[in-house]
C-alpha cells in the first residue's frame, strides 16, 4: 500500500482522478460502467431483505410463543 501511495504521489496523472482521501477507492475504468436509473434493478437488495423478512418473522414467532408465552406465570389481571 505504501508503495502504491508513494507512486501515486509522484504520478501527476493521478491527481484529479476520483480517488478518496486516502486512495481508498481507486476506480478502475476498465471494469467500471455507469448504471442509470432505468438500467438498474436492485435484485440483490430485494433478495437480502426478503431473507431478513423471513428471519424477523421466524424470530418473532419464536420469541412470542416460545420464550414469552412459555415463560411460566403471566400477568392476567
Amino acid at each position: 500500500m505504501t508503495a502504491t501511495e508513494a507512486e501515486a504521489e509522484t504520478d501527476s496523472a493521478v491527481v484529479g482522478e476520483e480517488t478518496y482521501a486516502d486512495g481508498t477507492l481507486v476506480r478502475d475504468p476498465d471494469i467500471e460502467e455507469s448504471l442509470s436509473q432505468d438500467e438498474y434493478d436492485p435484485k440483490g437488495t430485494l433478495a437480502l431483505l426478503l431473507v431478513y423478512f423471513l428471519i424477523l418473522a421466524l424470530m418473532w414467532t419464536y420469541m412470542y410463543f416460545v420464550e414469552f408465552l412459555g415463560n411460566g406465570a403471566t400477568v392476567i389481571g
Binding site: D41, P42, K43, T45, L46, L49, L50, F53, L56, A57, W60, Y64, F68, L69, N71, G72, A73, T74, V75, I76, G77
Partner: protein, 189 residues
C-alpha cells in the same frame, strides 16, 4: 412520486410485518388474556404506608377460596416482606409500592414484572401452576445498595400449604421495623 417496484414490494412486506406484530400483541391480550399493569392500583402516600390498609402489614392474605393477595413494599434496599409463600394453582394478586424511590419488581423466570413507583400501586394478578422457589429482584436502580435488593417467593403444593395468619402478620410487622433500622436487611428473614 417515483418508487421502484421492488421498493413498493418491500414497503408492502414491511407493513405486513407491522400489522403482524400488532396482531400478535392483540392475540396475547385478547386470546391469552395477558393484562398490562395499569392505573387500577390507585395512589398512596409513601410516608403513610403504615396507616394504609394492606401495606400496614405487608405479606400474604387469603381473600377467597383459592385467592390470595400479597402486599409488598419496596424500600432502599429490600422488599417487605423478604419471603413470601403461596400455594400453587391459586390466583395471586400482588400490590406493590415504594416507600422511597423508584424500584422494580421482577419474579425471575416468570412474566411477572412491574415498575414500583412511590405514590402509585402496581397491581398484578398471576397464577402459578408449578410449585417451586422463585427469586424476586429489584430491576430498577434505586441507590448505592440496589444490587442487594431481592426477595424470595415459595410456591407450595396446595396440600402442604397452611395459611399462617398470625405468624405471617407477626413476621411482617417485625420486618417493617427491622428494615427501617437496617436498610440493607434484604436477607434478614
Amino acid at each position: 412520486m417515483h418508487v421502484h417496484n421492488y421498493e413498493k414490494l418491500w414497503l408492502g412486506a414491511s407493513l405486513l410485518l407491522i400489522v403482524g406484530f400488532i396482531s400478535t400483541i392483540v392475540y396475547g391480550a385478547a386470546g391469552a388474556g395477558i393484562t398490562m399493569v395499569n392505573d387500577e392500583g390507585g395512589q398512596v402516600n409513601p410516608q403513610e404506608l403504615g396507616n394504609t390498609s394492606g401495606f400496614d402489614d405487608p405479606g400474604v392474605t387469603k381473600v377467597g377460596p383459592n385467592e390470595y393477595e400479597v402486599h409488598v413494599v419496596g424500600i432502599q434496599f429490600a422488599f417487605q416482606p423478604s419471603t413470601m409463600e403461596v400455594p400453587a394453582n391459586s390466583t395471586v394478586t400482588f400490590y406493590v409500592t415504594s416507600r422511597d424511590v423508584v424500584h422494580g419488581f421482577e419474579i425471575v423466570g416468570t412474566n411477572a414484572n412491574t415498575m414500583v413507583i412511590p405514590g402509585e400501586v402496581s397491581k398484578i394478578t398471576v397464577e402459578f401452576d408449578e410449585p417451586g422457589e422463585y427469586g424476586i429482584v429489584c430491576h430498577e436502580y434505586c441507590g448505592a445498595g440496589h444490587h442487594s435488593m431481592a426477595a424470595e417467593l415459595t410456591v407450595t403444593e396446595p396440600s402442604n400449604f397452611t395459611m399462617q395468619d398470625d405468624t405471617q402478620t407477626q413476621t411482617g410487622g417485625n420486618e417493617t421495623t427491622n428494615a427501617t433500622a437496617t436498610p440493607s436487611g434484604g436477607e434478614s428473614a
